[in-house]
């Protein structure tokens, strides 16, 4: 390959007008022996060449990446779906449990009112009668006291100059 052509190519190269093929051409040319005047340029192209051969210097790199990828796998759509439904279910569970416990507390605080206090029916009847008598005695007493109010009524009638009969008639009319 004549050096004239190479020099032209080089000039194009420094001006960034070379195509990829032409640059590859230069690289290949400088791999071999070159005239002394071009030693420095050759050094540059050999440097580029050498740099391109650099590799990841760890033999287990692929294995590590593949392992990490596999670890990542389970996080698919299904898992995400279960996760979100799981959250809803957990929320519901909390509400249900809370309601249950609150109800229990309420029951404890207000025990049922209807409960048997006597085991013997006769005794119970006696007690009931006693209680009813006490109430009716109270009623009678109140009734006696209330009948005194009648006196006031009669007095009122006399003051208004009406006979008791009249007022009674009036009451009947009403």
């Amino acid at each position: 390959m004549d050096s004239k052509h190479i020099e032209q190519l080089l000039e194009k190269y420094w001006n960034c007008d070379t195509s990829l093929e032409e640059e590859q051409h230069l690289r290949e040319y400088f791999r071999g022996d070159v005239p002394e005047s071009m030693n420095e340029v050759a050094e540059v192209f050999r440097y580029f060449d050498k740099q391109q051969k650099q590799q990841v210097n760890s033999p287990d790199f692929d294995a590590v990446v593949k392992k990490k990828i596999r670890q990542h796998r389970p996080e698919g759509k299904l898992v995400k779906m279960f996760y979100s439904y799981g959250r809803i279910a957990a929320g519901l569970l909390v509400v249900v449990a809370a309601t249950y416990f609150v109800r229990q507390e309420v029951r404890k605080a207000y025990p049922p009112e209807i409960a048997d206090t006597y085991s013997d029916p006769k005794l119970a009847l006696e007690e009931t009668k006693k209680a009813l008598m006490m109430i009716s005695k109270g009623f009678n007493k109140a009734h006696r006291e209330a009948s005194k109010i009648k006196a006031f009524n009669e007095a009122e009638v006399k003051i208004q100059g009406k006979t008791l009969e009249e007022s009674e008639e009036n009451e009947k009319k009403i």
């Binding site: 190269y13 420094w14 001006n15 960034c16 990829l20 640059e23 590859q24 005047s37 420095e40 340029v41 050094e43 540059v44 050999r46 440097y47 580029f48 050498k50 740099q51 391109q52 650099q54 590799q55 990841v56 210097n57 760890s58 790199f61 692929d62 590590v64 990446v65 593949k66 990490k68 990828i69 990542h72």
Partner: protein, 170 residues
């Protein structure tokens, strides 16, 4: 995308991704981390990536973004970034490689590392990886003009700092 296509189409780009991340971060450990992150990201987002045409360019783009994020958070942590970068550059080479690599290679490495970020990205993608201008636009999210300007500046810097000085001893 199933595991098989991932292994056949995405995983083999790991070395390119690694070189690019390494060029941006200057640390092979961090670059490796980033590549892993990129690959897992691609796998997790595989459903949205069904319509991506150039898978490789897409991966490169993610690599670029994650690397720049990493750089930024590194600066925020306010560790000494320059020292760290320099130190690691030597550390990644085995003693054998170190003696093997020509002094000039080392100098070129440092020179490109010293270029502004965009220029460094563009010259890496074009001259080392051999991407077309269109692909570079896609990876770096730049327009054609910006790509060409940055490439021109980067190549000129290499020419002036390395080729001419070495050739004429200036």
């Amino acid at each position: 995308m199933n595991l098989e296509t991932f292994e056949n189409r995405v995983l083999p780009t790991k070395n390119k991704l690694f070189r690019f991340a390494f060029r941006l971060l200057g640390s092979s450990e961090e670059a490796k981390d980033i590549v892993q992150e990129v690959l897992i990201k691609v796998w997790n987002g595989r459903e949205q990536m069904a319509e991506v045409q150039n898978m490789e360019a897409w991966c490169m783009r993610i690599t670029k973004n994650l690397s720049l994020d990493r750089l930024r958070s590194r600066q925020r942590r306010a560790t000494d970034p320059i020292e760290e970068g320099m130190e690691i550059r030597n550390e990644t080479l085995t003693p054998h490689e170190r003696t093997e690599i020509h002094e000039n290679m080392q100098r070129l490495n440092e020179m490109i590392a010293a270029l502004p970020e965009k220029q460094r990205q563009v010259i890496h993608l074009r001259d080392i990886e051999g991407y077309s201008y269109n692909e570079i636009c896609e990876i770096l999210e730049l327009d054609m003009n910006q790509v060409k300007v940055n490439l021109f500046r980067a190549r000129t810097a290499v020419r002036e700092k390395f080729v001419k000085i070495n050739a004429y001893g200036l």
